[in-house]
Symmetry: C2
DNA sequence: CCTTATTATTAAGTATGCTTAAAAATAGAA
DNA sequence: TTCTATTTTTAAGCATACTTAATAATAAGG
């Protein structure tokens, strides 16, 4: 497996998990910063290897072995993020940036060492679950996506699912951090905009951010 | 810079430093496990980028910017080795194996973090000097190569410059570790074989190993 | 339902980093 | 010095991962 193939498969997995997203070639291409033609090309190659299901003009899906491969990369990514956060104190964006590279050059052997050193963490610093070696992932069933969390209630931030520096900068500047308390207010613009109150500040957030923020009722 | 280019340049640096070695295309090719044709090809490409001096049928040499590039990779390699040894307790061979991959995906930013975490170490666990960010390297002027260390004297092992698992297994099995004490005995086979006594055991070593082991008079 | 805009696919081409095979140059031995 | 063995180079070719441009299919709006 090459870096390109690993990133491609991981992107499919993440798009398929993400809210309001699809796994069509163009979407994958945009996420990876490559042309649509290159994405179609890669889709055919990975289908030939039995890692994805590809039917012309259809969204692609991962096969079981493709899913396991995605989870292997994601496990390494999130273990590195947890490690860089705990040990070196890097920021939310820095851990992601470095893990994006290290994930492809990490043996299963080394991943186990990191895992043991951190006492087998279940989530990374963004609140994302860390898949186990066998590919099992435990999703918190208490997480609510902020774009859909019932209004009028108070929540704790439980997951920041973005990856762009801009997103993390915004969260940091507005005290949106894992464990922070916020209240959901009115919805505007046909539910596209969510009003929240955090640290006595009122914010109006659009779905491009509220689809990346998860909250839960209790800490 | 690609992984292939970084490894190529690093190999030239190491061959040029090593005892009884040269930097001819065939030697580089053998070290990297590629064909002579591929090595010639790469030599021309790197020369075009001003990283090496290449004249047909001649050994290649690094330019100043090539040397700095080699030292940058070597710095990352050795910082990772020191880190994996200290923090995860990996063996001499395991640290090398993992560092060989990680060295290419490590930002200068991350290298600085590792360096600071380890309190700016000057040598890695093999006794090799860790180049500074500016490319300066401090070589111990007290190190003697075991193949040439005067007979009859007692020394401390100061550097194990190999990279093969077989070499490190041999060293471990025979108590040849950094700081271990040994005495140099007779030389045989026109100096190709060195007799040493370590932990009351007599060993006869050939130059393929004694060119990789360095010792010094005082600890 | 038809037209148009968007998206996907195919085709052709490029750079990288390899390969093997053949030719050329160099090095070593007699 | 001359022959031979070794090494290096050149040539041709291949796989990967991209590109742009042209074509085909699908999706969306009027
Ligand atoms: Mn991440
Ligand atoms: Mn990546
Ligand atoms: Mn090493
Ligand atoms: Mn390497």
């Amino acid at each position: 497996m090459s870096v390109s193939k690993e990133n491609f498969i991981k992107t499919i997995y993440k798009l398929q998990q993400g809210v309001g997203q699809n796994t069509r070639p163009g979407t994958i291409a945009a996420a990876l910063g490559i042309s649509n033609a290159a994405a179609t090309d890669m889709a055919r190659k990975l289908a030939a290897r039995g890692l994805i299901n590809y039917v012309k003009y259809q969204p692609v899906t991962l096969t079981e072995s493709g899913r396991l491969m995605a989870l292997d990369v994601l496990r390494k990514h999130r273990l590195w993020e947890a490690f860089l956060f705990e040990v070196f104190g890097l920021s939310m964006h820095e851990i992601h940036r470095e893990a994006e590279l290290l994930e492809h050059q990490t043996s299963v052997f080394l991943a186990e060492k990191i895992d043991a050193f951190l006492n087998n963490p279940t989530t990374d610093p963004h609140g994302d679950p860390i898949p186990a070696t066998d590919g099992s992932v435990v999703f918190s069933n208490k997480n609510l996506i902020l774009s859909e969390a019932p209004a009028g209630a108070t929540y704790y931030v439980s997951r920041l699912a973005g990856s762009e520096e801009e997103f993390f900068d915004f969260c940091r500047d507005n005290k949106i951090a894992i464990g922070a308390q916020l209240t959901v207010g009115n919805r505007y613009n046909a539910g596209q905009t969510t009003e929240i109150v955090i640290e006595d500040t009122k914010l109006l957030l659009n779905t491009d951010f509220t689809n990346l923020i998860y909250v839960k009722q209790n800490q």
